[in-house]
């Protein structure tokens, strides 16, 4: 039951006397955290639908869906499809494939 939860680790450290081994976990978690951001493909512009959390978090699912030709269909994609169909008129009648590609191209 390992927990790569940065704040949890940090919190413990504060209370449980900062030892060097502890500090290491924090360091490595921070490293993961810092670099995780590079994997995030969102643009920093306005708060349009493309920035919606549901859409952003569907990016990897959309890539899996497109690459597997619809075989891998995760819940994040399903949620984004629903959201986009209700919010974006052009998406209403578009196929799953078309919308997944649009999410992938964000």
């Amino acid at each position: 039951m390992r927990s790569p939860l940065i704040v949890a680790t940090l919190g413990l450290l504060l209370l449980a006397d900062v030892t060097q081994a502890h500090t290491l976990v924090a360091t490595s978690n921070i490293l993961i955290n810092a670099t995780r951001r590079t994997l995030d493909f969102t643009s920093d512009t306005t708060t349009s639908i493309r920035d919606a959390k549901i859409v952003r978090e569907a990016h990897d699912d959309a890539a899996s869906f497109v690459a597997s030709d619809g075989d891998i269909r995760g819940a994040h994609l399903e949620a984004a499809l629903n959201l986009l169909r209700t919010r974006v008129p052009e998406a209403r009648d578009a196929s799953d494939q078309v919308i997944a590609e649009a999410i992938l191209a964000l």
């Binding site: 390992r2 949890a8 449980a16 890539a63 690459a67 075989d71 998406a91």
Partner: protein, 653 residues
């Protein structure tokens, strides 16, 4: 004949007279008290009598003598004898008499010295009441039945409803339900035996309450009777007392609809203070991270998922896909893989706390970083049970500070306790499982978990009952690649082991489908680099620390500052002052908001600094490989967008 009638009439009148007089009487010992002292003392006792529940006065049918005594530690307020005497500390008499006690502040939740004295009278009377075994009829029958059963056939095979009921000696303080709520949960596997220490120690109105269940009952009675905000601060206990007495004080606050919590998500750019409205919680799922070979993960990790509906969406199955709203309740020990000590884990050295995390982060952590899959199984709970679980989780979030034992008090045990105390569901009372995967089996066996949602793996994946490990996805992506491009590698591991530059040449040849696969594989390569980098930084860090130089000083200082600033996320109660207790109330809300956002801003700034420091520690070749990898990711992204645009694909606004 006439005289017999008269006798009967007289007898009846006596009986009636007795009934009218029955009940508790507080008799002041007036010897040695001046008239003013008598008057002030009597006023205090009258007030106490008025605060007591009718059932309490009726049941505790006796005269209790109340006096002032010098024979007491100077800081004590009072104490009760076993049956019918109550002593107050004479030190306090002067300030009660001249009225200054009513204004003298104590800086404790009761406020003034006089309120403390009133609370003391109620507290000590509650001890006498608790000792007097005033069980309601049905409870008395159950206790007698269970005691007989245990005496004849022992604890083995004891029915669930008898757990903790045999040989009870107190009206309230050994009631299993009270113990669940108070923080003395059942030990697992010991047929109802209770844990010795109460770990609900944060946000306590009076830490004395955790010294024993008897004191807990008495302390909480003070607040139940005197504090109109008790109903909002400790809602479950309020209902417990209310139900026992069939009555509650008239003065009562109106509670907010939602519960505050600190979101322990790893995105420091976001305000960590959140709210959960139980009305919007559609379901509670048992969320199980499947086991891997890491020894602490061999039985999986169990959590609870709150399926929360998006604002404005009526509660229903559609809420299952409002994934950005869902939260995960997770008991975690604060350990990482480097220094995890099995001995420390077995003896409970790791603090265990209840964290509230965004679902998306939990999914990422398990499926992408640890490459473990997650199963999310709906629990069959009634509407009330769902709301009570949310409420209890909020109470535990603010008050619990436990010890984590890998075997006897792990996430499965903590989760079970949370469900048991939260719902009071009879089917949960006798559950004793201690392993996460085992617990799911038992829940299923008792009809509490609906695992049929997992029967069709594709549907389960689509609807969010299962989140697959990315290990499988990377394999699938490699197969797509292999099919569409003339690459030489036969295994995904070999592909990922290539240099980023070697992989880069294929990007421009890829069609849309293959580019999508390439993208995920580049991400996989990047995560792999991260793991390697972590290890290297760790080694360097250790080395540099030992040398006392090595250019680590700056990073070290920043790290220490981060640690000093982030403790609050794991111990949310630290953000609040000492004036309140239990669930934070609107009056405390503002402080909570400003404190948490202030600390979070400092954290964000410090994290930025540390990023730079830590990156500087990377081995130059590792740093170059990572940069090349990042360039690949960027290039695949651009290539994808180009193909998409050329094909005239849909553009999202």
């Amino acid at each position: 004949m006439r005289s017999l009638n008269a006798w009967l009439l007289m007898g009846a009148m006596l009986l009636l007279g007795n009934t009218a007089q029955a009940g508790l009487q507080l008799q002041l010992k007036t010897e040695g008290l001046s008239p003013a002292q008598q008057q002030a003392s009597q006023a205090l006792l009258d007030e106490a009598m008025q605060a007591l529940p009718p059932r309490f006065i009726e049941q505790l049918d006796r005269r209790i003598d109340v006096g002032w005594t010098d024979d007491m530690p100077s800081n004590a307020y009072g104490q009760a004898s076993l049956v019918s005497e109550l002593d107050l500390n004479r030190n306090l008499l002067a300030s009660l008499t001249d009225g200054s006690a009513a204004t003298k502040k104590t800086y404790r939740p009761h406020g003034t010295v006089r309120r403390e004295m009133l609370a003391t009278v109620l507290h000590e009377l509650t001890h006498i009441y608790d000792r007097s075994r005033f069980w309601p009829a049905a409870e008395r029958t159950l206790i007698q039945h269970c005691t007989r059963r245990t005496n004849s056939s022992g604890l083995i095979g004891i029915p669930d409803e008898c757990r903790g009921q045999s040989d009870r000696r107190f009206t309230l303080s050994d009631d299993p339900r009270l113990l669940d709520l108070a923080g003395w949960p059942q030990y697992v596997g010991r047929r109802g035996e209770r844990e010795q220490y109460n770990r609900q120690i944060a946000r306590s109105p009076d830490i004395y309450e955790t010294s024993s269940p008897k004191e807990f009952v008495a302390v909480n009675m003070e607040y139940f009777l005197l504090d109109p905000s008790y109903v909002c601060r400790r809602p479950a206990l309020y209902r417990y007392y209310k139900e026992h007495f069939g009555w509650a004080p008239a003065a009562k606050d109106t509670c907010g609809k939602s519960f505050a919590f600190l979101n322990a998500g790893n995105d420091f750019a976001k305000q960590p203070l959140g709210q959960v409205d139980p009305e919007r919680v559609y379901a509670v799922d048992y969320l199980l991270a499947e086991a891997n070979q890491n020894w602490v993960s061999r039985w999986g990790h169990s959590m609870l998922r709150l399926v929360i509906c998006a604002p404005g969406r009526p509660r229903g199955p559609d809420c299952r896909l409002d994934l950005d709203q869902h939260l995960v309740l997770s008991y975690r020990a604060f350990v990482g893989d480097v220094q995890l000590s099995s001995w420390d884990g077995l003896v409970g050295k790791y603090p265990s706390r209840l964290f509230v995390l965004p679902l998306a982060q939990v999914i990422d952590e398990y499926t992408k970083t640890e490459l473990r899959s997650l199963a999310s199984v709906p629990l069959n709970l009634s509407r009330n049970e769902i709301e009570d679980v949310v409420e209890h989780a909020a109470e535990m979030h603010w008050s619990y500070d436990g010890n984590y034992f890998f075997l006897s008090n792990n996430c499965a045990v903590e989760g079970l306790k949370l469900l048991r105390s939260g719902t009071n569901n009879a089917k949960l009372v006798g559950l004793d499982n201690i392993m996460p995967n085992g617990l799911l089996e038992v829940l299923k066996g008792r009809g509490l978990a609906d695992t049929s949602v997992l029967d069709d793996p594709r549907e389960a994946l689509r609807l969010g009952y299962r989140f697959d490990s990315f290990r499988d996805r990377y394999q699938a992506m490699f197969e797509v690649l292999k099919k569409h491009l003339p690459i030489k590698q036969d295994k995904v591991e070999d592909w990922l082991a290539l240099k980023a530059e070697e992989r880069r040449q294929w990007i421009d040849q890829a069609d849309l489908r293959t580019s999508a696969a390439l993208l995920l594989l580049e991400q996989a390569a990047f995560r792999q680099q991260l793991v390697l980098a972590q290890d290297e930084v760790k080694q360097r860090y250790l080395g540099a620390r030992e040398l006392k130089s090595g250019g680590m000083d700056k990073a070290n200082a920043t790290l220490k500052q981060i640690l000093a600033n982030s403790g609050f996320l794991s111990r949310p109660a630290e953000l609040l002052g000492t004036g309140g207790y239990g669930l934070p109330q609107p009056s405390e809300w503002q402080r909570l908001e400003s404190e948490s956002s202030l600390r979070q801003k400092q954290l964000q700034a410090l994290t930025g600094d540390l990023d730079k420091e830590v990156r500087a520690l990377l081995d130059p070749s590792r740093a170059a490989e990572m940069a090349a990898n990042e360039a690949n990711l960027k290039q695949v992204g651009e290539h994808l967008r180009k193909l998409h645009k050329a094909a005239g694909g849909l553009e999202l606004p």
